[in-house]
Symmetry: C2
Subunit: 437 residues, 2 copies
Amino acid sequence: MEQANADKNNSFVIRGNVYHTPASGAAETFERAFVVCRDGKCARIFEELPEDHRELPLKDYGDALILPGMVDLHLHAPQFAFRGTGMDSELLTWLKERTFPEEEKYADPAYARRAYGMFAARMRQSATTRAVIFATIHKEATITLMELMEETGLVSYVGKVNMDRDAPPGLQEKTPLISAYDTIDWIDDVRTQHHFTHTWPIITPRFIPCCSDSLLEYLGEVRRLYDLPVQSHLSENPEEMKLVESLMPDAAFYGDGYDRFGLFGGEARTVMAHCIYSPEEEVERMREKGVWIAHCPNSNMNLASGIAPVRHYLDKGMRIGLGSDVAGGQTVSIFRAVTDAVQVSKLYWRYLDRSAEPLSFAEAFYLATRGGGSFFGSAGSFEKGYEFDAIVIDDSRVPHPQPMSVSERVERAFYLGLDRNCLIAKYAAGTGIRLEE
Amino acid sequence: MEQANADKNNSFVIRGNVYHTPASGAAETFERAFVVCRDGKCARIFEELPEDHRELPLKDYGDALILPGMVDLHLHAPQFAFRGTGMDSELLTWLKERTFPEEEKYADPAYARRAYGMFAARMRQSATTRAVIFATIHKEATITLMELMEETGLVSYVGKVNMDRDAPPGLQEKTPLISAYDTIDWIDDVRTQHHFTHTWPIITPRFIPCCSDSLLEYLGEVRRLYDLPVQSHLSENPEEMKLVESLMPDAAFYGDGYDRFGLFGGEARTVMAHCIYSPEEEVERMREKGVWIAHCPNSNMNLASGIAPVRHYLDKGMRIGLGSDVAGGQTVSIFRAVTDAVQVSKLYWRYLDRSAEPLSFAEAFYLATRGGGSFFGSAGSFEKGYEFDAIVIDDSRVPHPQPMSVSERVERAFYLGLDRNCLIAKYAAGTGIRLEE
C-alpha cells in the first residue's frame, strides 16, 4: 500500500550525527554521517558519501542528531482531549468516570473533527512516525480520524472500537452482529471510498470486559475475511483480570479469551497493550504466536496498574515496543516513554525482582524504534531496506558547558524531553513531514 | 534580610484564575480573582477588588492560571551540566563516575562561571521561586553561584559543600580544620563583601560517607556561631546506609550521625534529602526535631534508589517538600517532581504497602509549594502575610476541545509540563522575575 511513496521524490540524503540500535541495547553512532534514502527505504549510512549517491539531493543538518522515528504501539486518539487530568483513580473507575463520557462525544461528527484535529496536529509535531491507534465505536468519527492521520504523513493503524457490554448506552453497540456489521461497513468504506496510502484499519475489540464471546467470534471472522491485524488490552490490572475470569471462566487465561477467537497472533498480527500481570502460560502463548507487547509505563503508573516485567520479556525473546497509551498516559511523547521505561525498570529491580536487571537507555531506545517498528515490517532502524523514518533533533538549543559524545547527547535529549522544542525535521516512509502549525 | 524588597514597588495586584493549597490536599480555586501584594507579602485573594486596593498597579493576566511559585528543597547546581546523561548506574557508582569528576571542574573559576551561568539562567526561566542548593567544596565558585542566583531574583540558600574523605583528591578538603576554616572564610566573605538580599549561605556536609566525625563536629560549631540552617542527604540507598553504619558504628541510625553534632533540626533548621529507608526511630527523631524531608522522586527512580514512604510521613505530620535533585533528577522542573511524586506513590501503594493511599494531585502540589515553602518561613501559598511568590501559566497555548475547570487546567499544566513553554510571568518575594533570555 506504500507504492505511492515510491517515486523519485523519495530519494535523497540527509547528513548529521546518527544514532540507532540495530540490536537491543547495542547502539551504533556515526558523527556527521550521510543517511541515504532510496525510494522511501534506507540505503545505508555512509561516513563518506560514495560517488553513485552524489546526484541525490542532500540536506545537511549540521551538528544535529538524526535518529529513527519513534513508534507508538498503543494510544487512544479520543482520550487525547482529557490527557493529564483526572489522574487520581484506577483503571475501571477511570474508564467509567473519565474515558467513557468523553468517548461518547465522538458520536458528534463536528466534535470528533475538532478534537481529532488537535490530536492529529500534535502527532504530526511529535517525534512519532508510526502509531497504532484506538478510535471509538463510531464509524464516521473513525474515518475522520483516518483522514486526519493520513494528512499528517505519519504511518498508522487506526481501529474502530468494538464494545457490546459493560459500557454506557451511548458506547455500547446494540448486538454483536450490529457491531460486526458496522465494522465491515467501516472497512469497506475505507477500502472503496478512500485512497489512504499510509493509514490502515485494524481490528479493535476494546477488551474482554466490553466484548461478549459472540462479538469476539464475529470479529475473528471479519479479521480473517479482510486479513487485518488486531489490537487490544491484556492483563493490565488485578481487578480487570478478576472481571475477565468471571466473564470467561472457560478461558485458560486472559489472552486465551482472545486466542480462542483467532485474535491473538499467528496469522493475526496482534499487539496487546500492558501485559503487567500475564501468567507464565500467557507469556508462553504470546511467544509461540508472535504477539507484540505494547509496554506503556507512564499509563501503568498513572492508573496505579503496576510495572510490566520487561526484562523477563526481553530474556524470552518476546516482541515488544512502547506505547504512550494516551490518556492513561499523559503525553504522546515516546521520548518520555523511553525514560519512563528505564525508570520503572529500576523500581522493578529494586522492589520486585533483583535478578531483573534494569533496562539500559539503549535497550529502551530499541523498544521505541526497532522493537515497535517490527509491527510495521522493517521500521525503526537505518539498516538497509528499512522504511526511511527519521527525526532530527537540534539539541544545541539547550546549552551545555562541555563536549558530549553523540550517545550522551541522545540520552540527554530523551531525559530532557527535547522532542518538544528541538525537533526540526521528521520523515516517515521517506516523506518529509511538515512540523509547523 | 529581605527588607530591600519592602518598598512601594512591591505593592501591586495581579488578576487571573487562582489555585493554591492552604492545607495539604485541599485546593482552593478562584476564577478571575485579584491577588494583592503589599510590600512583598500576600494581602489577600479577592473576587472583587475593594476600594482601598484600587490605587495599586494592576496586571491582568486574563484567563491564565496564577499559582504559588514552586519550591525546590534539594538540588546540586554543579551537576546541572550533565543532567540527563549517565543514567545507567546506582548512587555510589554514579557519584564516583559522573558526579565527582564534574564537581572537580569547579576549581576553575572560568568553568564555574560558564556552567553556573547556564544553571542560573535555567532556574530563572523555570517555575521555581525558592531553592535550597548544593554547590561544591570550592569557595570562589560557590560565591560566583551566589552572585548569579542573586541576579536571577529567586530566593535561595546555597551551600559550599564540605567533604574530607572518600572522594578524589581534587574534591577532598585536606583536613577537617581546613574545611571548617574555608567554610568560615566563605561565610565571612558573603557577609562582608556581598550585599545579597535573597541569597543566603547554608551549612552543607555532603553526606556522612564524605565527612569525618571531626569535620561534622567543626561544622556544628560553625553553624551555631553563625546561626545557619543545614542541608544534607539521608537514607537514600541501601549500600550507602551500610557504608554509614560501618563508618559510624556508634550512631543509633544514619540521622543520629548528624544529630550528635547539632546538624539535625532543633535550633538548626535542617533539610534532609531522600529519607527512603529511614528506620522508624530516625523518622521519630526527625519529627521531634522538626527536620524537613526533601522528597526527590525523579532522582530516586534514576538512581534505582527506591520510593520514599511519603504517605507515612504525611500521616505522622512530618515537614516535607519536593526536590528536583538535579542531576540525580534529570530536570529542575518542580512540575515534573509533582507528577513524579504522585506516580511513584501509586507504585508504592500497589507493591509495597496497600494501606498507603497514593498521593492526590493536590497533596503533591502542596508539597511543592506550602510544604517546601515552610523551610523559608511563610511561603508557597497566597494566605495573608505569606511571601508573594507567584507564577503565571498561559495554558491556552495548548488547545483543548472542551471547557475545563481551573483545577483540571492546573492538573493538566503539571502533567503536560507547561512550566516550559507556557510560563509567562514569575514573582519571588514580591519582585517580578525576568523570563526572557
